[in-house]
Amino acid sequence: MRKYIIKRLLQLIPILFGITLLTFVLMHTSSVDAVDMMEQNTGMAWTEEQKDAVREELGLDKSVPVQYLNWVGNMLKGDMGTSYISGQPVLQMFLSRLPMTIYLTITSILLTIALSIPLGILSAVRKNKFTDYFIRILSFIGNSMPGFFMALLLMYLFSLKLGWFPVMGSGQGWKSIVLPTLTLAIAMSAKYTRQIRATVLEELKKEYVVGARARGVREKKILVRSVLKASMLTIVTLLSLSIGSLLGGTAIVESIFMWDGVGKMAVDAILTRDYPVIQVYVVWMAIIYVMVNLVTDIIYHYLDPRIRLQENS
């Protein structure tokens, strides 16, 4: 087990290298000159000399590989540049908003699990009966609606018409998080419920279910103790795959509900061409994503005794 973890951590290094490199290249192939952007944002005209001075200060006159090394060097020191718009250090901007995004992500995942596992199992156990069709139709609708439409519909219904929840912002305590969470959770649950249903159905066909029945074990116990456990592996894989889309998906929801997380920060930055901010967002989201994948991989290995025991032998 430990060997596996170490191996994976080592694999992390080239991946991190690739991430930073790709992001850097991405930012520097943009067709807009950074200094011109800064000039635009200040609203005043600068002379060429002023611009050259700024370029020199930012190290933009050096060759690209050198710039990259400078950037990485600074990053390791904790300095990832400053925003073109606000002038604030971007790493701090990112870190101060990250908790909000994590908060939203966690509540969404929890709600998704609470919805999709029971619904998926119910759908499988009552296969082809009314309950199953009903749940499948709901899933289908959820899958066919883009997140932002769902968000707007929910906003229209529950905030504007019924006034139950605040329209935007994160300041009103637990009420603020309901609609954003609901939006994300509905979209994810729609996908998960389907998968869970398929996994449970597959497990139910297996011999060990017949075996347990032959031994006189109650259906409910078979479901909960054996089938669920066996399905866990697939569920964990699903979760890990979706964390990625969730991390990115918060961007749209955060923008719509004005939820002050890193997603909203990134979208705003893109609209204003604030490249340092975009950069810090992309790099860190990628790193977090890779770390989360690593953790779920390890959990997956831990849950399956077949793999766990083989590693030890």
Partner: protein
């Protein structure tokens, strides 16, 4: 499983999708009004007999804009899916069949793209390329091809071990011939189903980028950007958001159903 019910479903859906595509293709000729024509006196009108979906803030007929939006949204999504499925499948087949350094390289590159959460990367690329529908398509293409490559690769790996491939090799077929004549026909089914099921997703993702302002820009009629424009007036004039939204829902649902049915048939 080709039961009769499935076949009937398939034909009905195919017809519906056909109608959709036809409408999208000939949108210009099918709109009741000119989608770009402004009529400020009639701005923000509620849905009525004259304007089935109401008008937007410039007085443009919503129904016409929604119909025209179908063209933009649907065809750019179709183009996108075509690009990623073809590229991904080819790369996956080549990597899976020839193995070795080529395979390693392709896999490393796809791993790299996969290290970024999808939307994050798409947002970054679209932003860097200064917006517009083309950049949104490129951005989504960059991250979505990996799914097809992986799938094609794993399918190829399985098919590669089949006895008839060994037989083909013995009878003197070279790599390219084997790929085209033996491997591709066997994985084509799965790849086509995956591609079809992806159309709906791509429509939604393109619309999502446009919604954020990173894709199609006004005055282009595109569902995502139309909904974004209508956001501020959600309370007073909900039809500006709801009309394109429902159109998108119906479209995606149709493609999803079609993809599901095709999968059932194969």
């Amino acid at each position: 499983m080709r039961t009769k019910k499935t076949k009937i479903k398939f034909i009905i859906l195919l017809i519906l999708v056909g109608i959709l595509l036809f409408t999208a293709a000939f949108a210009i000729h099918l709109t009741p009004y000119d989608p770009y024509e402004q009529d400020l006196a009639n701005a923000l009108a509620k849905p009525s007999a004259q304007h089935l979906f109401g008008t937007d803030r410039y007085g443009r007929d919503m129904l016409s804009r929604v119909i025209l939006g179908a063209q933009t949204t649907v065809f750019s999504a179709l183009a996108l899916v075509l690009i990623i499925s073809v590229t991904g499948t080819i790369l996956g087949m080549v990597g899976g069949y020839f193995g070795g350094k080529t395979d390693d390289l392709i896999m490393r590159i796809s791993d790299l793209f996969l290290a970024f959460p999808g939307m994050v990367f798409a947002i970054a690329v679209a932003g860097v390329l200064s917006g517009g529908l083309k950049s949104a398509v490129i951005a989504l293409a960059c991250i979505s091809w990996t799914k097809f490559a992986r799938l094609a690769r794993s399918q190829t790996l399985t098919v590669k071990e089949m006895p008839y491939i060994a037989a083909a090799k013995l009878s003197g077929c070279n790599g390219m011939q084997i790929l085209l004549r033996h491997i591709f026909p066997n994985i084509a089914g799965t790849m086509i189903v995956t591609a079809m099921l992806d159309i709906g997703t791509m429509i939604m993702e393109l619309a999502g980028l446009s919604f954020l302002g990173l894709g199609a820009t006004p005055p282009m009629a595109e569902w995502g950007s139309m909904m974004s424009n209508g956001r501020s007036m959600l309370q007073t004039c909900p039809w500006i958001v709801i009309a394109p939204g429902i159109a998108m829902f119906v479209t995606v649902a149709l493609f999803n159903l079609l993809g599901d049915t095709v999968r059932d048939m194969i």
